[in-house]
Symmetry: D2
Subunit: 344 residues, 4 copies
């Protein structure tokens, strides 16, 4: 923390600032400038609330210096974390792909989708059972029945399962069914839910909120890690900007930034990130080229009839082509695709 | 819904679009243009998912025409809703003011604050007992003890109490203590929590999410209303933009827009909206001049020592001045301040 | 400038940073913390480019401390600047209003508009002669003929004239006709144009760019002031955000912030700020309540037939009502409206 | 254009809307819905200003249907445009790379940089002679002398030259020296400058404004094309968002969107797009993987001592590594790097 004093600060006011720093148990360091004086603070364990100083007479500004996340920080742990999703290693040299429909809609739909994406080399099946929807009148998911169908699809294909948890009430059911528990973008700062998954010992896929900064995403991960669960995969899925031609603005800058600030694996969701079917494939390639550890892709056997997000879902042949092209980019990066489940 | 076809669409593709509209039970209306054809759809009850059409061959764009919220819409109910907060009427000719600290910190703090704001004419005491904080290492509130202290302050001053509910687990406790239940900005799209307060028959203060559009705020209110609870007060509290000099960008445009689209009362939180103490008073005046039905203001008896948000909290004398200036603006608007509780 | 070093910085790297500071002619001040060291820099005249240090080994971050604008800063000049627009004082206790059509369209249109707004008490007539338009196929203004018509309207009504300058080529013509030269939002960082108006000795209305920060607006004003022209009026006119229901997001937070950081007068354009006719009046009241020194309002005698911006233009009766309501807010603020020109 | 009427519109008001459409020379098409009526308009050549209808009694909304750009649209020209920059073909199967310092600083600097990037395979040398800077007190470029040094570097290395034009005054000098004229982000809506380069018959590099939508970028290109100059290369360079960890948010979504809406070539500037040296290489790879036709990269022989943008400039060895990695991505895409000039 650095406290910048006003140019015309009185000796008395400056003394009171120094006294307040000492009173809080910290050590003040005055830096006399030509025009201004600043006071550096040391001796603190965590971040200091600037509110302690901002309102004191003579204080012009307070500037934090250290980052507020620790456990998820690259400074604390240098080597990459590899998250183990029921045998699927996320964050290593091999890239992983999660694929499936926005929502589980029927046994026929989820099974045909699971078989199709497995055949193309996906590792993990995605599919929403509990759907947070902007309108109360929209389809809210098949709920418990949806979880059962995901388990059925896993049993048949060998794919692992990722599905979203909407609230703490349904967390036990989701945790019992899912290999990887997804926290959706709207829940990234639902701190009660973050704490609840932090108390589990199961891997978590944490999606960036649509107006969350990269730092806030890391703070949300810190919430989970601070309860003892460090099996966290970060997910960039697009942020909200002024641009209206695309559903969101996929922020691929986040990949090198997250990689340099944190040891956690990072995957990208280009389906929500651009929101337009024809853009998913180029953005999937771009995500891998930017250094992502994997992808999560919306695929639907019949997107024209999808109950949600049909506009951004790939058909099975389009997904097959995506896997082919992405694997060429992976090779160019000196990486490879983690093989999907062995057909039974 | 309007479906715009591509310029070079084939007769067959156009027929398939028409057939799809009819298959869904709606009526298509072709509009032949010089360069393009568009198809209007009627016969639908609610909004139609554009995903039904966007991926059909020959479709260039799908444009929704009707709004997706109903119960909270001015089209459905013309006259203003007045929400009754334990006897305090919000949304009528008289303006109401909620004031108090960001968080309840101690008996001494909340009582001296409550007495002070009551003496200046506030109607409702604010104070967080459960605090959602960006960092897991920050002060998380006094919880049940905080609720007790708010009740104590109410008993002593006659002020009504508004406090935030963080999750469904603590909702029963909050609902039992609060006269007005606050849904914070980060929970505006926590649909499980919206449904839970929708099942109550108690007034709700719904804050706009920091990246929520005005329409999404109305959709969140619709979630609550669709469960039978229409006692909802909307709150503008600033949105996230590229501007960094202020904490948020207070979007006062939202007031006339909400007022014209909805019958619900609207209050403004200038404390979070600008985030800098010296700016709270001018923005409070501006909110009233824009047509708000009330204010929610952070006040702390000793902001320098506040455990959170000290930087934007007013002192008691500053709040007194704010009430004086705001009441002059109210008069200029042909409105007046609802008198605070009668001293006991 | 504060240089924050990495936790594990070597003694040698730290020495090299100190040497670099000295080499540039400044004085380094090391602040040793428990975990980190920071280096404060003094002795500089203006802002130091962080690029000088950010790439040195061992440097974690560079934080600027002083603001980069000077002449327009409240630190340099404490009392408010009053800009004299051909006898109309902007920035004093009395509020001023500029009103008129988006574009000059015909003699009949500009004269009837000028007479109408003068009758309601406006001080300055606005009207575009050179129009920057997003599409090359849209109406680009009447150009020289438009300037002549503005002069005609001034002669007849006594109103002063503000009109936009689009480029340096047409600046001499605009400067010869206008009492107040407007730099539009899209030209806020057209530095060649800023320098050219800075070389004049005529008042300038500088509109905030739609994605410009408050600090960048002040830097643009500094460009003009640095050439010797300090007759600058700042104008908030809405910024670009994710909100789509309104044309822009009027950032009234900018008013108290500009007022505290600068001595220049500030006016508000609620017409562009909300972009919807029914919202202009409430936002005009709000702007004055927030502390603005005046307004600029789009008014058209027949908005349905306006060639541009009809959707946000007021009719003459609506403008009359706006003046009435705004003057009541002004009184509540202890200010008053500067009387318009005496009818001839 | 589609005009949506209010639910309770009177027969008379509806007739007046139809009459207004006919009066303007267009053909109205009424679509009667269950709850509402809408009116489609045909017979128009270009876009219709919604202002013609929005204020009529009974009108609820006006929705434009056709896009306002034509010459640059993929609908008008299906095959890709290839821009010829003095023999370097941009927009074909082969990718091109522009590289060099932010600003020309000295003969020694620009020559050593040009030699270095040419040796690594760049095709075009970048370097600012006229620099638009946010502060009037910052280095503004070497101006004419800078242009001379760029020509010298071209003569020595065979690289083509791209440099920014800041205003119409200096356009003749820039056009005489440059092979490719750059319009910077801040000038993307400087319509006078767009028209001036539109009157030339020389290739233009048009950078996206930092808050410009994709559609506005295409409209700016349309300005140039409408004057007869269709030799335009579009450039994505990052947009302004709420994210503060990076300088801008590189919007790679823009690549597939621009490619599907326009026939013009698209290049990416990852240096400004992320603003942090360590992120430039991954974002360069991502840009190519997303389908860009080339890159523009800031390179400085000694970035620590750069007069501007040192923080995001690559060293020559880093640029060499970038070329190596990008060419592997290009191969994976079935493309290749256009070879640089043959050494003399």
């Amino acid at each position: 923390m650095l406290i910048v004093l006003q140019q015309d600060v009185s000796k008395e006011a400056q003394e009171r600032v120094l006294a307040r720093v000492r009173e809080l148990g910290f050590t003040p360091h005055a830096i006399e400038g030509a025009g201004r004086t600043a006071i550096g603070i040391t001796g603190n364990k965590g971040a200091i609330d600037p509110g302690n100083f901002r309102l004191l007479e003579g204080v012009s500004d307070c500037i934090p210096v250290t980052v507020p996340y620790k456990l998820v920080s690259r400074e604390v742990r240098h080597q990459d974390t590899i998250v183990n999703v029921a045998g699927v290693a996320v964050g290593g040299r091999e890239l992983i792909v999660m694929a499936g429909p926005c929502a589980v809609e029927s046994e026929q739909q989820i099974l045909s989708c699971a078989r199709g994406v497995a055949a193309s080399g996906a590792n993990i099946l995605r599919g929403g059972a509990y759907k947070p929807r902007t309108s109360p009148y929209d389809f809210q998911g098949m709920k418990e029945k949806g979880l059962e169908l995901l388990s059925l699809a896993r049993a048949e294909t060998g794919l692992k399962v990722v599905t979203e948890v909407k609230d703490t009430e349904t967390l036990p059911a989701v945790a019992a069914s899912a290999d990887l528990i997804q926290i959706g973008a709207r829940n990234m700062q639902n701190f009660s839910l973050l704490e609840a998954v932090g108390d589990l010992r199961q891997p978590v896929l944490l999606k960036r909120g649509m107006s969350a900064t990269i730092k806030e995403l890391l703070m949300a991960a810190e919430y989970i890690a601070s309860r003892g669960n460090q099996q966290i995969i970060l997910c960039e899925r697009g942020i909200r900007t002024f641009e209206t031609m695309t559903r969101n603005t996929l922020d691929l800058n986040a990949i090198p930034m997250l990689k340099s600030h944190s040891h956690l694996p990072v995957v990208v969701d280009p389906s929500h990130g651009i929101g337009i079917r024809s853009g998913v494939l180029p953005m999937a390639r771009a995500a891998i080229a930017a250094g992502a550890d994997g992808l999560i892709i919306e695929v639907h056997p019949d997107p024209d009839r999808a109950l949600s997000d049909g506009m951004q879902s790939l058909t099975l042949p389009m997904f097959h082509e995506l896997m082919r092209e992405v694997s060429r980019i992976a090779e160019a990066m000196g990486r490879s695709m983690l093989p999907g489940p062995v057909p039974r």
